[in-house]
């Protein structure tokens, strides 16, 4: 393909400094500029770098545009999105970094191109290009947010599933939050590990902190109970609040094979009894 430099690229090269200055002042005066989140010098550096990459990308317009230039422009935008997502910019504030370049760019085109047809052609191809890059920025922003969320979820999983030994042969698992499939897996593993490690014969699963018990949560609970049983431990499900008990009945979930108790204290009393321990008050006259 013949190296024919696009009009936009030519003009941008010629007026690079001017466009950069105008773009910067435009960005900093706009509603979406966050002086509280980002230093001016960083913005200047990012803008300078992006403008250079944009010139390269727009060298050749249309299909067959320089793949290497595209790649570096995308990489740069991914980095910008990542850092801005981290700094607390919103997606639209982040995308404005790219879209705000339109204003100084079109001003330049309007000033320099006298032929209306040429002007509209160049504006169209430039706006298409910038839109693509802007959308890419939003996608990259989204992706980096999702990876942060996924990591936090993972950390939360690890943090929120303590299995505690209450007494000889009695372990308890206080569940807090939503019991999704991933969480159930972790919970089940922890519980079985602890059952084996302590030789427990009773495991109390307390669901006081589980806000909603739907069929999926019920199924996960039943699976955990079945797995513990295979390891030689009977389960008691405690913390079934009255409204949850009613809902479970309406759902038609069958908990008949499982011992259920309203409170952890009730469950503990049953567990002590079953393991042959007894609680007596010492020094208190009946």
């Amino acid at each position: 393909m013949a190296e024919q430099e696009s009009k936009v690229a030519q003009l941008l090269k010629k007026h690079e400094q001017d466009v950069l200055q105008k773009w910067l002042s435009y960005q900093m005066s706009s509603m979406t500029w966050r002086a509280d989140l980002m230093k001016e010098s960083d913005l200047r550096e990012q803008s300078r770098e992006f403008l250079q990459l944009f010139i390269e990308v727009s060298q050749q317009s249309g299909p067959g545009a320089d793949a290497a230039a595209w790649k570096s422009a995308k990489e740069m935008l991914a980095e910008v999105s990542r850092s801005r997502a981290m700094q607390g910019f919103s997606p639209s504030e982040t995308a404005m970094f790219v879209f705000s370049l339109k204003q100084p760019l079109f001003d330049t085109l309007r000033r320099e191109l006298n032929d209306v047809e040429e002007l509209s052609r160049e504006v169209w191809s430039t706006t298409t290009l910038l839109d693509k890059l802007g959308l890419y920025t939003v996608e990259a922003y989204q992706q980096s947010r999702e990876s942060v969320i996924a990591r936090q979820q993972q950390e939360l999983l690890e943090l929120s599933t303590p299995v505690v030994q209450l007494w000889d042969h009695i372990v308890a698992l206080p569940l807090i939050g939503t019991l999704d499939s991933a969480r159930t897996q972790v919970v089940m593993e922890r519980l079985l590990e602890k059952v084996v490690q302590t030789g427990a014969s009773i495991a109390i699963i307390d669901i006081t902190g589980v806000p909603t018990v739907d069929t999926l949560v019920a199924q996960h609970l039943l699976k955990t109970v079945a797995a513990a049983r295979l390891m030689g431990a009977d389960c008691i499900i405690s913390g079934i609040r009255p409204q949850i008990a009613q809902t479970i009945v309406h759902l038609g979930v069958n908990l008949a094979d499982v011992i259920t108790k309203a409170t952890l204290a009730d469950a503990f009393a049953v567990a002590l009894q079953r393991t042959g321990a007894r609680v007596t008050r010492v020094g208190v006259k009946e």
Partner: protein, 136 residues
């Protein structure tokens, strides 16, 4: 009967399903639902939202807060453009699941609501509407 509030929420991921539970609970609280009624409507919403995501391939929830002289209501409409349900009688039956579930979601949601309607066309999608009233 007056519609006090009317909003929609997307159902694409399990995070959306979690959000649905939270927002439905907020609405139920603001309509003055008792704890039992809140729990019922939130649980039904959880079932239907999950079906929308898992079997419907994602969709939308429309929430309407209704008001009449004697009572307040929450109407929830779950819609998707998924494969639809070929055999409705079978799908509504307790214990029937084409997935790995307990097969209690649809029947359970029906029992947890005051009114329940399901409309499904194979190849076009499914819409489930439930309504839960709260006496004033």
């Amino acid at each position: 009967m007056v519609v006090l509030k009317d909003e929609s929420a997307p159902i694409r991921s399990s995070i959306d399903v979690m959000r649905v539970r939270q927002i439905v609970r907020e609405w139920a609280v603001s309509l003055g639902f008792s704890l039992v009624d809140q729990t019922k409507v939130v649980t039904a919403a959880s079932e239907l939202a999950r079906n929308t995501m898992v079997y419907g391939g994602g969709g939308e929830l429309r929430m309407e807060a209704l008001n009449s002289d004697t009572r307040r209501g929450l109407r929830l409409t779950f819609s998707d453009q998924g494969p639809g349900i070929a055999d409705m009688e079978q799908a509504m039956k307790d214990g029937f699941s084409t997935g790995a579930g307990l097969g209690l979601g649809l029947g359970g949601a029906k029992r947890l609501a005051n009114e329940f309607a399901i409309d499904s066309r194979p190849g076009q999608g499914t819409t489930v509407t439930i309504l839960r009233w709260n006496k004033l």
